[in-house]
Amino acid sequence: MQREAAIREPLILGHKTYKDITDDVVGPIMGPAPLGWKIMITISSIIALYGVGCILYLLGTGIGVWGLNKTVDWAWDITNFVWWVGIGHAGTLISAVLLLFRQKWRMAINRSAEAMTIFAVIMAAVFPGIHMGRIWVSYWVLPLPNQFGSLWVNFNSPLLWDVFAISTYFSVSLVFWYIGLIPDFATIRDRMTKPLAKKIYGILSFGWSGRAKHWTRFEEVSLVLAGIATPLVFSVHSIVSMDFATSVIPGWHTTIFPPYFVSGAVFSGFAMVQTLLLIMRKGMKLENYIHVKHVEYMNIVIIVTGSIVGVAYLTELFISWYSGVEYESYAFINRFSGPYSWAYWMMMTCNVISPQLFWFKKIRRSLVATFALSIVVNIGMWFERYVIIVTSLHRDYLPSSWGEFHATSIDIGIFIGTIGIFLTLFLAFARFFPVLALNELKTILKSSGESYKKEQAQ
């Protein structure tokens, strides 16, 4: 059996048996829905429905219901898209990269982080769809054989790369997540007494019987998928950043974008994981599995990526001055001193200053502070994309075309709506899915469980 140094903080607190873990995870699924959950899902579905209503109005009337104009042709739509894609980075990073690095602490958070990833990517995918003027021909972005003559997609276009990057990332993440769920579904199936639910979980568990052969294959598949998913974690946001980096617009045309976007994405992804898990551990009484140590680990990731992002901001500023290109330098001067400087300073405060607070151990280990800062970081990362997109576009080359962007209620409604859809999906996940990778957790119980470590120490 694996042994772990005694001085390492345990990953599972208290005295848990294998049965306890199963009870803790499967119990909420078997039991009746708690009132808090009902209230939350009601609120989030109402918000989701409002968002759907706004989307339908948009599709029925035209993109003009947004605040876009001849100068700023993208604003909240693509800001939201990049924001959601960024959020969708944490899950796969946690489950794939940390798996490869044998970081056991990921086991408590990877399931929900991955669920969050899937839902965030779904939300992200909404925006490139609805931002199209003619969504009914959106399938033209796929390189399908067609009867339009020899008409093909434009492989030079970063938007097309996006299509491939996002769809690949989504499918791999989904498969990876699902593979991990199979043994846990089987556990639920075995416990379930309600016939219909038992049948459903039976189908979902793909006939898992827990044989050694199944476990071997499970481990192998996980490793292979982790290998496939790891480069995707880096490629998706690199490619999203190329939407901007390959353009000619000052403020977009920046070679620093791929690494800067990836670290920003991990940064915001972890922040969102914190936001969701801190609520979930409380609501579902998972304090023993997701505890301060996990939070601290994630906060460390936030410091690192937040600092990379901060360095990237400063590098951009430096290069804009050092390049001597007047359009470039004006673009950045305009960012921090122009009409949208409030957004810039919002971004700087939220993304550069606030994560530095995590250098203090007290803050890093404080759940309340972490929760607050995770929201601040998510706000900051939304503004980062807003700053990049709107402030770069609103004053580019020809001063004659300089304009403004003002969001309409539909811009806001759709964004809030996607948060509603996202939360609804996540709440449904929390209710019907095993929120912890319970079978994986059992593998570290004896080595990292608090009571077992104490026993060993004695």
Partner: protein
């Protein structure tokens, strides 16, 4: 028998059955008869099973459902007998002449399948070019507000009944008057005269915007009654005191192209233009030297000029700045001598007399000024004033109003309206039930000018013809025909014109058959008479006028009334295209406002920045007890202490049906309503603010009050940023002196047009060292493979000369009409969503620059903020901007579905039906020329009153060669690809190469000053190629490396100082 056959028609063939052999023997085998099979008794006795029944029912239901889904049938009726000379899909052009009482120009009307859809200049006369108002006037033909037949007492009537009423109306005693605009048609004059003679009526003329002082001055000055002719092409020094001769003053359609002829720096000499004006006008924005004066000072400027030029006086009563400018102008005038020219815009007899005297003193009479009795602007304001007072006194028994709308544009419109009510019989021939017509007892609508015959003559040796290009759409009747009918001599209008010769009205042979057809084809006829000689000045003493001008006193605020380029006097207020054409100076659309100087606005605490959510402050301007409330607009170049308001607004103040686009619309496209429930006019009518002097309106006021109201009002401008922010690769400009100094340098070497180079780590210039002087042109750097356009086939391109571009916006409307560009209305323009493919960027010079910031120790960031403000009296650049058709187009690489691609002729082409609307291309366009269809403009209620395609009649103006774009797609300048295609086909049919100049884009064709040249850059002999090689040519934003096919040519000002 051995069967060696390899292929069988069937098993029977293989086995060679008996039946098969029998059949094979017959050439026409007898098949089993169908009726025999049907006659099978089993069939009739068979029962339909339940399943069969359901199948049949299912099929029938599905078939019926599908049949019900049929798309609506649109009937198009083919020609059974093809009319001669009319081929569907092929445009016909007819020569005609536009005249609305102000603009007068020879045009060609393009018709498609019998519909006039486009108007352009008829350049065969060599003079005059259609302006923005003339271009757009084709929309008026299809205005569904047009009167569709005669009306009596507000109800529809018949021509027979109407004619009887006219006879009754004119039977009585009292003054009987025919009130018209300036009549230039000999035939119309004849029919009016006939009518007047029959009924003892008198003919009075009045102009919407009076120029009568100029005519009176000319008469006093030379004894010849007529509008003076100004020859701007011959002038070397022009001084304008408030005359917007490039835009709206006098015969501007004639002056602008003439003036531009003297502005070609390649000729080695350029005329110099000094402007003294109150509000920034189109002319002022093109002036080499512009001086801000108050209306009350403009007389002193003329007096001072007169004093210096004649040596009888000196500058007095003027501030030092103005005095210096006057001295400089006078010096230039004296140098130019007989090639000098002074024009005064004020409709004030003294001002015009002094201006005429200066010209005479210069010796300009006969060279730049000609007094040969042109017929323009024959309005008699004093007689009109008398008429109004007679009407109010009940002395007028019958009145016919033709071609004019005094109930709108009379300075005292209320008394005209009141007087009209007292006239026993009143009739209007207006095509719309406008302010005057709707107050008349009878309405006898005239044809639209595109439906009508007309002969026109302003004097000189040319007679112009208008011809119908379409059958009258409605039950209208030519006014000339009506006059003849009411004279008891009914005659077809065409016959009237054809018999005018024999009636003794003209002395030439045009009207005989042999000359007629040729003239009709050309649109004009040269009489072959001698050009009348300019009458000599009588040498009157103008010292009294000089004294009066010098004595003018102004109040705290003075007011200048002006006309906007697109709206003019307001006769086309219902034309949505003109309303949406941005004012060339302010760039504001759909509105009237008070132009004010920044210092005055700041002193009053008014908003100086107008943008999507930054509204204008409303001010109340009071003149002689009348007041209007209008938004204030910060106008650089506005004389401090003055305000300017445009005429031509406030049409339809009684809710008259003058076209749906003439009224203000709200955010949802509905008409805004006034307190009494009528549609709200756009802006306010300020004709009443003119100062009357013996009935003659002078369009300014020396003492007005301006007060803030605390209210706010949203203005919609297409450009909200005024300065070019020190960016030297957008507009390039230089002074004439520096141009001449380096005129012979090769392209890219002169200091005013340096090539942009990128430093490379190689010894490019061969001086042995690698340093900052080693650079390569941006075109040397390439990421993609170049499109093979250089030297292969055609490569369409354009050059735009910023020196001759006046910003007049004729190209904007020409493009708008040619390419079916949607009209989107004020609210959308305010949201920066104007759809113009072709726009004119206007940049003001700023006092500030980074250079000055460095000198004065002001930081870079603070300097940028200061540079956003234009100077108080800035130099101005007009830069036409449309798709640059980049050879390395950034839009093309980013489209995911390849909806925008490069043609092998150098065009950046947009495939609408492939576009999915990601707008990535629009973001990545450095020129921001791509336009997105935010809504379904053809159907969405927001555009119901303004978009031509939402009206079943107005949509007939759409060009069938150009797709009307659907919602959700990007559109942009196609370089009129439909015209290129047409020209290529024409050349192919003729078996010749495309001749340079045979294909012209709408903008190039419309440009009155020929600033825009279109052609084939692969044709070494083409004009566009020559221009592109000129050392003034450059690419805008060259350093981005996108290699446009549009070249700009450095602006050259004939001045010493270059501000921007």
């Amino acid at each position: 028998m051995a069967n060696t056959k390899r292929y069988w028609t069937g098993l029977d063939d293989l086995h060679q059955t008996e039946a098969f052999q029998t059949l094979q023997g017959q050439e026409f085998p007898q098949h089993e008869a169908v009726d025999e099979m049907l006659g099978n008794e089993n069939l009739t006795s068979a029962t339909t099973g339940r399943r069969d029944f359901l199948k049949f029912m299912g099929f029938s239901l599905a078939a019926a459902t599908l049949a019900a889904c049929e798309t609506p049938v649109v009937k198009s009726i083919p020609y059974v007998n093809k009319p001669e000379g009319l081929t569907p899909g092929v445009a016909n052009h007819y020569a005609s002449t536009y005249y609305n009482g102000h603009d007068y120009v020879n045009v060609l009307v393009k018709t498609r399948e019998g519909r006039p859809i486009f108007i352009k200049s008829n350049t065969a006369t060599g003079v005059g070019r259609a302006n923005v108002r003339v271009n757009a006037s084709v929309m008026g033909l299809y205005d569904s507000a047009r009167l569709q037949g005669p009306h009596l007492g507000g109800a529809g009537s018949t021509w027979a009944d109407l004619d009887k009423e006219v006879a009754k109306g004119f039977a009585g005693g009292g003054r009987k008057v025919v009130l018209t605009n300036t009549v230039l048609s000999p035939s119309l004059k004849r029919s009016i005269d006939t009518f007047c003679a029959t009924h003892g009526a008198e003919h009075l003329q009045v102009d919407a915007v009076s120029h009568s002082a100029l005519r009176m001055a000319a008469k006093q000055h030379t004894g010849v009654d007529g509008f003076p002719g100004f020859d701007f092409a011959a002038a070397k020094a022009v001084v304008t005191v408030g005359a917007d001769f490039l835009g709206t003053w006098g015969d501007a359609v004639y002056y602008a192209p003439e003036w531009a002829k003297s502005r070609r720096p390649e000729n080695g000499e350029m005329s110099k233009l000094h402007a003294f004006e109150t509000t920034m006008s189109l002319t002022g924005s093109n002036a080499d030297s512009r001086t801000m004066v108050k209306p009350s000072e403009s007389g002193r400027v003329l007096a001072a000029l007169h004093g210096i030029v004649t040596g009888t006086g000196n500058v007095s009563g003027l501030s030092e700045g103005i005095a210096n400018a006057v001295r400089a102008a006078a010096a230039d005038l004296k140098n130019a001598g007989s090639a000098g020219l002074v024009v005064a815009g004020s409709n004030d007899l003294d001002a015009q007399l002094v201006a005429a005297a200066i010209n005479t003193a210069l010796g300009a009479d006969g060279t730049t000024v000609k007094y040969n009795g042109e017929g323009l602007f024959a309005g008699d304001d004093a007689a009109f004033a008398q008429l109004v007072s007679d009407m109010n006194a009940g002395r007028v028994s019958a009145l016919i109003v033709h071609g004019t709308n005094p109930a709108y544009h009379a300075a005292d419109k209320e008394s005209f309206r009141a007087g009209l009510g007292k006239v026993k019989f009143s009739l209007s021939t207006a095509g719309l039930a406008d302010e005057t017509a709707s107050r008349c007892i009878a309405m006898a609508p005239d044809h639209h000018w595109l439906e009508n015959w007309m002969d026109l003559r302003i004097g000189g040796t040319r007679i112009d013809l208008s011809q119908p290009t379409i059958q009258p759409l409605f039950d209208t009747r030519a006014a000339g025909e009506s006059f003849m009918a009411w004279s008891g001599q009914p005659m077809a209008w065409y016959d009237v014109i054809r018999t005018t010769h024999s009636a003794g009205y003209t002395t030439d042979a045009m009207y005989n058959d042999s000359a007629w057809n040729g003239s009709l084809h050309d649109g004009f006829y040269m009489t072959g008479e001698e050009m009348p000689v300019s009458a000599p000045a009588l040498g009157n003493d103008v010292s009294a006028s000089v004294r009066r001008l010098s004595a003018a006193k102004g109040g705290a605020f003075e007011l200048a009334l002006y006309q906007k380029q697109a709206i003019g006097s307001g006769d086309q207020a219902g034309n949505p295209m003109l309303q949406e054409t941005p004012d060339p100076i302010s760039k504001v659309t759909w509105d009237n406002y008070v132009t004010m100087a920044r210092v005055d606005m700041e002193a009053m605490g008014l908003n100086t920045y107008i943008a999507q959510r930054d509204k204008a402050s409303v001010v109340k301007v009071t003149v002689n007890g009348q007041s209007v409330e209008l938004p204030a607009f910060m106008q650089p170049g506005q004389t401090p202490g003055t305000v300017g308001i445009a005429l031509g607004y406030g049409r339809g103040d009684g809710g008259e049906n003058i076209g749906r686009a003439a009224f203000a619309t709200g955010e949802h496209g509905d008409h805004l309503l006034t307190a009494d429930g009528k549609p709200m006019p756009i802006g306010a009518n300020v004709f009443g603010f003119a100062t009357l002097n013996g009935g003659v309106p002078r369009y300014d006021a020396y003492d007005v009050s301006v007060e803030a109201t605390g209210l706010e009002y949203a203005l919609a401008a297409t450009q909200i940023h005024n300065t070019v922010m020190d960016r030297d690769s957008v507009v390039k400009e230089t002074t004439f002196g520096s141009y001449l100094a380096e005129a012979s340098k090769p392209k890219g070497q002169a200091s005013w047009n340096k090539n942009h180079t990128l430093n490379v780590h190689a010894d490019v210039n061969g001086d042995g060292v690698i340093n900052a002087s080693d650079g390569k042109k941006t075109s040397a750097f390439d990421l993609w493979h170049s499109h093979p356009v250089e030297g292969v086939g055609h490569r369409w391109g354009m050059t735009i000369d910023l020196t001759t571009c006046t910003g007049c916006s004729a190209c904007v409307t020409a493009c708008h009409i040619e390419n079916n560009v949607p009209v989107v209305g004020k609210d959308e323009v305010r949201r920066h969503r104007d759809m113009h493919w072709m726009r004119i960027d206007r940049y003001y010079a700023s006092d500030w620059s980074q250079e000055r910031g460095a000198e004065e120790g002001v930081g870079v960031i603070a300097s940028y903020t200061k540079m956003e403000d234009p100077s108080a009296n800035p130099q101005t650049v007009h830069m036409p901007m449309m798709c640059q058709h980049c050879n390395h187009a950034p839009c093309e690489t980013v489209c995911p579905v390849a909806a925008t691609t490069h043609s092998n002729e150098g065009l950046n082409q947009m495939t609408y039906n492939r576009c999915i609307g990601t707008r990535y291309c629009a973001n990545n366009c450095p020129y921001k020329v791509r336009r997105f269809n935010w809504f379904n403009y053809q159907g969405y209620a927001k555009f119901q009153h303004i978009n031509p395609s939402q009206d079943s009649l107005t949509r007939l103006v759409l060009n069938p060669d150009v797709t009307v774009r659907a919602r959700g797609v990007i559109e942009k300048c196609s370089m009129c690809v439909q015209r290129i295609q047409d020209g290529k086909l024409e050349a192919k049919k003729n078996g010749t190469p495309v001749v340079d100049g045979a294909i012209k884009t709408a903008c190039a064709e419309a440009c009155p000053t020929n600033a825009i040249t279109f052609g084939d850059l692969n044709d070494n002999a083409s004009e566009v190629k020559t221009n592109s090689k000129n050392n003034r040519s450059y690419h805008a934003l060259e350093e981005v490396g996108i290699q446009p096919n549009i070249y700009y040519m450095t602006k050259v000002r004939n001045t010493e100082i270059n501000e921007a």
